[in-house]
């Protein structure tokens, strides 16, 4: 094998490693922007209409509990409101990502239940004994429990704790891979110098990275695995599928961006080559 061929082979290997670095950097950046961010989770909750579903199911659970305790449907029909649910869901997500793993206090829901029950007692002219007052307190506690169980997204507390544990390592890995990428680019520069060939090999890396970022997620979208997830409750199903599809599409967008940058690098290479040959 001639020296020139070896040099080309070596350059290609470095370029392939650079492709890998770019892929890892892109993936880690997307993970940092999505899975690690409570704002991304809150955005997907809004987009999926999770709050609407949860409000309805929490209301049904509370009304049914009330019916079983002699409280007419109309008393609790507007508990909880969508506004309160939105606030509590956001609070829950923030606390989950903070690693707090809390039981939602839901003070506004408790207050609404107490107010409405008191109003109903007055309207129905009910005088409660001590034992009945205790039973009413139990009813409110159970209603708040049902509400918080409706709100709390399963496993989000655990995910929040895992995110906090992994966050630092992810950042270190990102920095490490970025440094490796810079070293590879520097190595290519040393071999190829700052001419059209460097841009050409950068173009190879960017185009390959773009393809790698696009092909996998497109295959996932085409396989329709995400819409077929076996989740029983509609609200949670909508949220999880919206969340996963958003991440998948982010990969595709990142891939397209990399392809565009690759095309720009290609054009730069060709222009520089033309300039060099043209004089």
């Amino acid at each position: 094998m001639s020296g020139r061929t070896l040099k080309h082979l070596g350059t290609l290997i470095l370029t392939f490693l650079l492709t890998f670095c770019l892929f890892v950097i892109s993936t880690l950046c997307i993970v940092r922007m999505t899975v690690m961010q409570p704002d991304f989770t809150k955005l997907q909750l809004r987009r999926s209409g999770y709050v609407t579903y949860v409000t309805k199911s929490a209301n049904t659970a509370i009304v049914n509990l009330g019916l079983g305790s002699g409280v007419p449907k109309t008393v609790f029909k507007s508990v909880p409101t969508k506004k309160v649910v939105t606030q509590d869901v956001a609070y829950f997500v923030d606390r989950a990502y903070a690693g707090a793993g809390i039981k939602l206090p839901a003070p506004k829901v408790r207050q609404a239940l107490e107010t409405k029950l008191t109003a109903y007692e007055k309207k129905a002219d009910l005088t409660l004994t001590k034992a009945q007052k205790k039973a009413v307190d139990q009813l409110i506690d159970q209603a708040v429990n049902r509400y918080t169980n409706s709100i709390q997204i399963p496993y989000l507390n655990q995910i929040g704790r895992n995110v906090r544990q992994v966050q630092r390592y992810l950042l270190l890995t990102l920095i490490g891979v970025a440094v490796l990428g810079l070293i590879l680019i520097f190595s290519l520069w040393r071999i190829l110098h700052f001419n059209h060939r460097l841009w050409r090999y950068l173009a190879y890396a960017l185009l390959a990275n773009g393809l790698m970022l696009i092909i996998g997620p497109v295959a996932l979208i085409y396989s329709r695995i995400i819409p077929r997830l076996a989740i029983k409750t509609q609200g949670l199903y909508q949220f999880v599928t919206t969340y996963l599809q958003a991440i998948t599409w982010l990969f595709v967008i990142a891939g397209l961006l990399s392809l565009v940058l690759g095309l720009v690098a290609t054009l730069s290479s060709e222009l520089k080559r033309k300039q060099r040959l043209g004089g």
Binding site: A61, V63, L67, A124, L126, A203
Partner: protein
């Protein structure tokens, strides 16, 4: 020629890197592929889930009512859990409620619910029917002995005479004994005008007077 070769390099080299990259992933993930594949099979369905609640298939309205003394079993349309299958009435106190098979929250929110561990009306056993004291059974406390309970189903109309009315504990096994033949028990929370969880139930007992007996 050189230009063409240069152009094709921009195509096949990235494709080569794509193949190598995914090839490396495959090699690295190969020991876990079976696990990944079986996990995916476990957590996915054949098609996206449907959340459309089946319209409460009105078994009660869809089949013809039997007026014959003996209902052939094949003509009785047995309901699924949660389905509307009849109507409960106590005409003397203006109690009229849809009757569902099952006594869960969803059924009791809409009317009266038959405990699915009890016998269907007309069966050789006791039919146990529940309702909330603020909705389906709001008028139950007003019934008197000797009055009539009417249960209409898709397979026959049953009339029961009220033979007893008493306040019992929620866990009183004797009060809710289902072994008596051709009987019905209607019950609700007691006191009917209080709020909060109560440990007592108002139970009204009836004995079958007319209606086709089932061979079930």
């Amino acid at each position: 020629m050189k230009k063409a070769r240069r152009f094709w390099r921009y195509v096949y080299i990235p494709l080569l890197f794509l193949g190598l990259g995914y090839g490396l992933f495959y090699v690295a993930a190969r020991p876990f592929l079976n696990f990944i594949s079986s996990t995916i099979t476990l957590i996915t369905l054949d098609r996206p889930p449907s959340f459309k609640t089946a319209a409460a298939t009105d078994v009660f309205k869809s089949a013809k009512q039997q007026t014959a003394q003996k209902a052939a079993v094949k003509q009785q349309v047995l309901p699924s859990y949660g389905q509307l299958f009849g109507r409960l009435q106590v005409p003397a106190v203006d109690l009229q409620q849809p009757l569902y098979y099952g006594d869960g929250n969803a059924q009791l929110a809409k009317g009266a619910g038959m405990f699915n561990g009890s016998r269907f009306p007309g069966g050789a056993g006791t039919t146990l029917i529940a309702g909330h004291n603020t909705t389906a059974m709001a008028a139950l406390s007003q019934v008197k002995l000797g009055q009539t309970i009417v249960i209409e189903t898709n397979y026959g109309t049953y009339k029961y005479e009220i033979t007893a009315k008493k306040v019992v504990a929620y866990n009183d096994g004797q009060a809710f004994d289902l072994s008596g033949a051709y009987k019905v028990i209607l019950y609700t929370c007691y006191p009917t005008t209080t709020i909060g969880y109560t440990a007592q139930r108002l139970a009204v007992y009836g004995t079958l007077v007319s209606g086709p007996k089932l061979n079930l």
